[in-house]
């Protein structure tokens, strides 16, 4: 059975993890390596680190943070935030990232996607797209898109019915502060053709609201590209995650603020999704954990 991925997101500023996914028993958010190992134990399928530093110095220390996180992390790690060039990607991948996420830089110079893909393989390139619906477009009932998606009991998408219209969501850049004239749907297809391995799709309408993902946007993008789509923005409850998988056709979902107040844990979220028929990877108790026998490099 092919599982949907739940991916916690860590915000990093000036080399520190400032906003991680806070689990109930989290004691110390200070050591990125400890944090990473804990997410892995809790059953995270992957980790995303997003650099929100304003300064170039902050970006430089990101490499060290990535290195510390990656050192004891044995699940995929994607790093983004201010990645502009092939060299930025090279440094992050050398520091221990498996994938880099590009956003504004790709919109402004799309060739950066193919450059990174050519050097490191398309599995190393995630194109992050921030999308916003035009002001006059009403929110549709999410259940309206259910009949367009179809996956087998093994969790594998086999086909989608064609979309009736092309939804006009626009692409935003610079952290969602600038609106471009590009349509998200067309940009996603172009990113795929340039070599993107995955799309990280954030709804700027839903982001921060905790009222649910934008399933209409997610389904529109997910069924128009043949690469995985990671949904982001709006999650406030486990039910929202079920919706974005069952109605939004997402392959993965990013989790951030839902875990901040300790009401939900990753384990509980996945168990809930399993009861709703969403294929997920459940991790049992970790008494069988493989201990490190290597020398620990003290930081």
């Amino acid at each position: 059975m092919f599982a949907k991925r739940i991916i916690p997101c860590l915000d990093c500023k000036d080399g520190r993890v400032v906003k991680g996914v806070q689990f109930v028993d989290l004691r110390d958010a200070g050591d990125p390596g400890e944090l990473a190992a804990m997410y892995d134990r809790e059953g995270a399928d992957e980790l995303v680190m997003l650099d929100i530093s304003a300064s170039r110095e902050g970006r430089a220390t990101l490499m060290e943070t990535v290195n510390q996180v990656a050192r004891r992390l044995f699940i995929p790690l994607a790093v983004g935030g201010g990645v502009r060039t092939l060299d930025d990607a090279r440094r992050l991948l050398s520091a221990g990232a498996d994938k880099v996420a590009v956003n504004t830089a790709a919109v402004e110079r799309p060739d950066v996607i193919s450059e990174i893909a050519a050097h490191f393989g398309r599995q190393a390139v995630v194109v992050a797209i921030d999308a916003k619906r035009p002001r006059d477009l009403a929110v549709k009932e999410i259940h309206g898109v259910t009949d367009s998606v179809s996956f087998t009991s093994e969790g594998v998408w086999t086909h989608f019915k064609p979309a009736p219209t092309a939804p006009p969501w626009k692409v935003l850049t610079y952290g969602g502060t600038r609106e471009t004239d590009f349509r998200a749907l067309e940009w996603a297809a172009r990113a795929e053709s340039l070599g993107a391995g995955e799309i990280l799709l954030t709804s700027m309408d839903a982001d921060g609201t905790q009222r649910g993902f934008d399933c209409e946007l997610t389904a529109a993008i997910a069924r128009s590209v043949h690469i995985p789509v990671i949904a982001s923005g709006g999650a406030g409850s486990p039910e929202h995650f079920a919706e974005v998988f069952l109605c939004g056709a997402a392959d993965a979902a990013l989790a951030a603020s839902i875990f901040h107040f300790g009401q939900h844990t990753l384990g509980n979220l996945k168990r809930f999704l399993a009861t709703r028929g969403v294929p997920v990877r459940l991790v049992g108790n970790r008494s069988d954990a493989v201990e490190s026998r290597g020398s620990r490099v003290e930081s």
């Binding site: 059975m1 092919f2 599982a3 949907k4 991925r5 892995d40 399928d45 990656a70 050192r71 004891r72 044995f74 699940i75 995929p76 050398s94 221990g96 498996d98 393989g121 599995q123 093994e154 594998v156 998408w157 086999t158 086909h159 989608f160 391995g197 995955e198 069924r223 043949h226 690469i227 995985p228 392959d251 993965a252 990877r281 991790v283 970790r286 069988d288 954990a289 493989v290 490190s292 026998r293 290597g294």
Partner: protein, 197 residues
């Protein structure tokens, strides 16, 4: 000393990190003289089948690798490192594989999303040293567009549109289509089985 074959396009860093975490010494190998002195070999293959076989040839690694495998040097192939064991791949029809497994590597068909990216389950077909201590139906992390067909040597299969070789074992020659260095506890156990055995 464990040799991690570095042909310029693989995933050597992540695998090296995992090997060292498990308490073993390893070094990247990009020249024949470094390969022949290795006691065990890992080939972390990633990217394009043709590009990898060509890069191995250019670095003079292909012939010594073949010879060492024939001699029974313990080998762990990862991702493309499993696909290389077959006769050929549809991804690069002009590049022969090592021919140690019968059949041809093919691209996924009948599924909407390619590559297969994410966690999927191992269906154990027969007991093996490679999967010692790993529960049936464990999840492992995949990232690939091509797959090797199921053969007698497949000790586990995974289903993504169709069933394909997830792990193979032929005596000292082991290979996995998934990434053990990205598969959390299950992956570390596979590596441990190879390194300790």
């Amino acid at each position: 000393m464990i040799g991690l074959i570095d042909y310029g396009g693989g995933n050597v860093g992540s695998v090296l990190k995992a090997v060292e975490y498990l308490g073993h010494a390893a070094r990247p190998v990009d020249r024949p003289e470094l390969l022949t002195s290795a006691t065990k070999i890992i080939l972390p293959g990633q990217g394009h089948f043709g590009a990898m076989m060509s890069a191995l040839g250019q670095r003079g690694l292909l012939a010594p690798l073949r010879e060492m495998l024939t001699r029974g040097t313990p080998y762990l192939g990862i991702c493309l490192g499993l696909q290389a064991l077959y006769e050929a791949s549809d991804e690069a029809p002009e590049a022969p594989g090592l021919g140690l497994l019968p059949g041809r590597v093919k691209r996924f068909e009948g599924v909407f999303k390619v590559p297969h990216v994410g966690w999927n389950q191992l269906e154990v077909q027969q007991e093996s040293r490679l999967l010692q201590g790993i529960p049936h139906s464990s999840f492992v992390y995949y990232c690939h567009s091509y797959y090797g067909p199921v053969t007698e040597q497949s000790v586990a299969v995974t289903e993504y549109g169709q069933r394909y070789a997830a792990a193979v074992e032929i005596g000292p020659l082991w290979a996995v289509q998934f990434h053990p260095e990205k598969s959390s506890e299950v992956g570390l156990r596979v590596l441990k089985n190879f390194l300790d055995g």
